[in-house]
Symmetry: C2
């Protein structure tokens, strides 16, 4: 069992207020704001960007591990995440997360790589927590 810590604040109301989050390990702080989160302004960070980084890193670790466990040699797994926040009746939801991954792996067939990648997508700890959204995966073997 391990524990991980972070914090955040918000001052004022939602449209005009301002806020920030902080990661415990590095002390990294970044502002969040309304327009960057809900509109097209991409000047500030957002909870959704953090969710994307969490899933991309969790998935990359899980895929490397699954390949290694199946006696293949993972050289490098690179993954990007695109997180979509959509307005619905009654608020916003994270409607989908699209993962795109490229695997540099020794001694594996494409079909086996895709099978292991799909399995890692379903079973990494962050995926198992994010069951309220839809995760899609486009996997390529280099």
């Amino acid at each position: 069992m391990s524990k991980h810590f972070a914090s955040a604040y918000w001052e004022g109301n939602l449209p005009k207020g301002k806020g920030q989050y902080k990661l415990k390990t590095s002390g990294y702080e970044a502002p969040v704001n309304f327009s960057s989160r809900f509109e097209d302004d991409k000047s500030a960070s957002s909870p959704e960007e953090l969710i994307g980084a969490a899933l991309a890193s969790c998935f990359s670790m899980a895929l490397s591990h699954a390949l290694d466990q199946a006696d293949y040699t993972p050289i490098k797994i690179e993954t990007s995440a695109e997180v979509t926040l959509t307005k619905i009746d009654g608020g916003f939801i994270i409607s989908e997360i699209e993962l795109t991954t490229k695997g540099n792996v020794e001694g594996i067939e494409k079909s086996k790589f895709l099978e292991i990648a799909e399995d890692a997508k379903k079973n990494c700890p962050v995926s198992k927590a994010l069951t309220g959204t839809t995760i899609m995966l486009d996997a390529k073997l280099l």
Copy 2:
């Protein structure tokens, strides 16, 4: 609808490899590693720390908004998150996320604040995505 981007990589196998994530807006990069994620070494970041920051900031924004909508005046909402990664048969899960929030709010009774805070915990977009884990809330009115 808005889109949010991040990326990550992992090199090598899980126990001995190394990796990093990157947030698109700021370009912030941080290393992730096995011992900081699954053991007690807290020298590096982790997907779980990012999940904590995502939920803490999403919840703080949602609570401010809900208070404002109910005609109270949110001055500041401060939230910390503790994310627990637990080993189970077959792997790891994010077993729980504990939120602790302090609200500086004008003109509200404690019971009403707690009611609105519980509602924000259930309905913020990140909470609605994280239905595969248990989110707990300790809310205090300042």
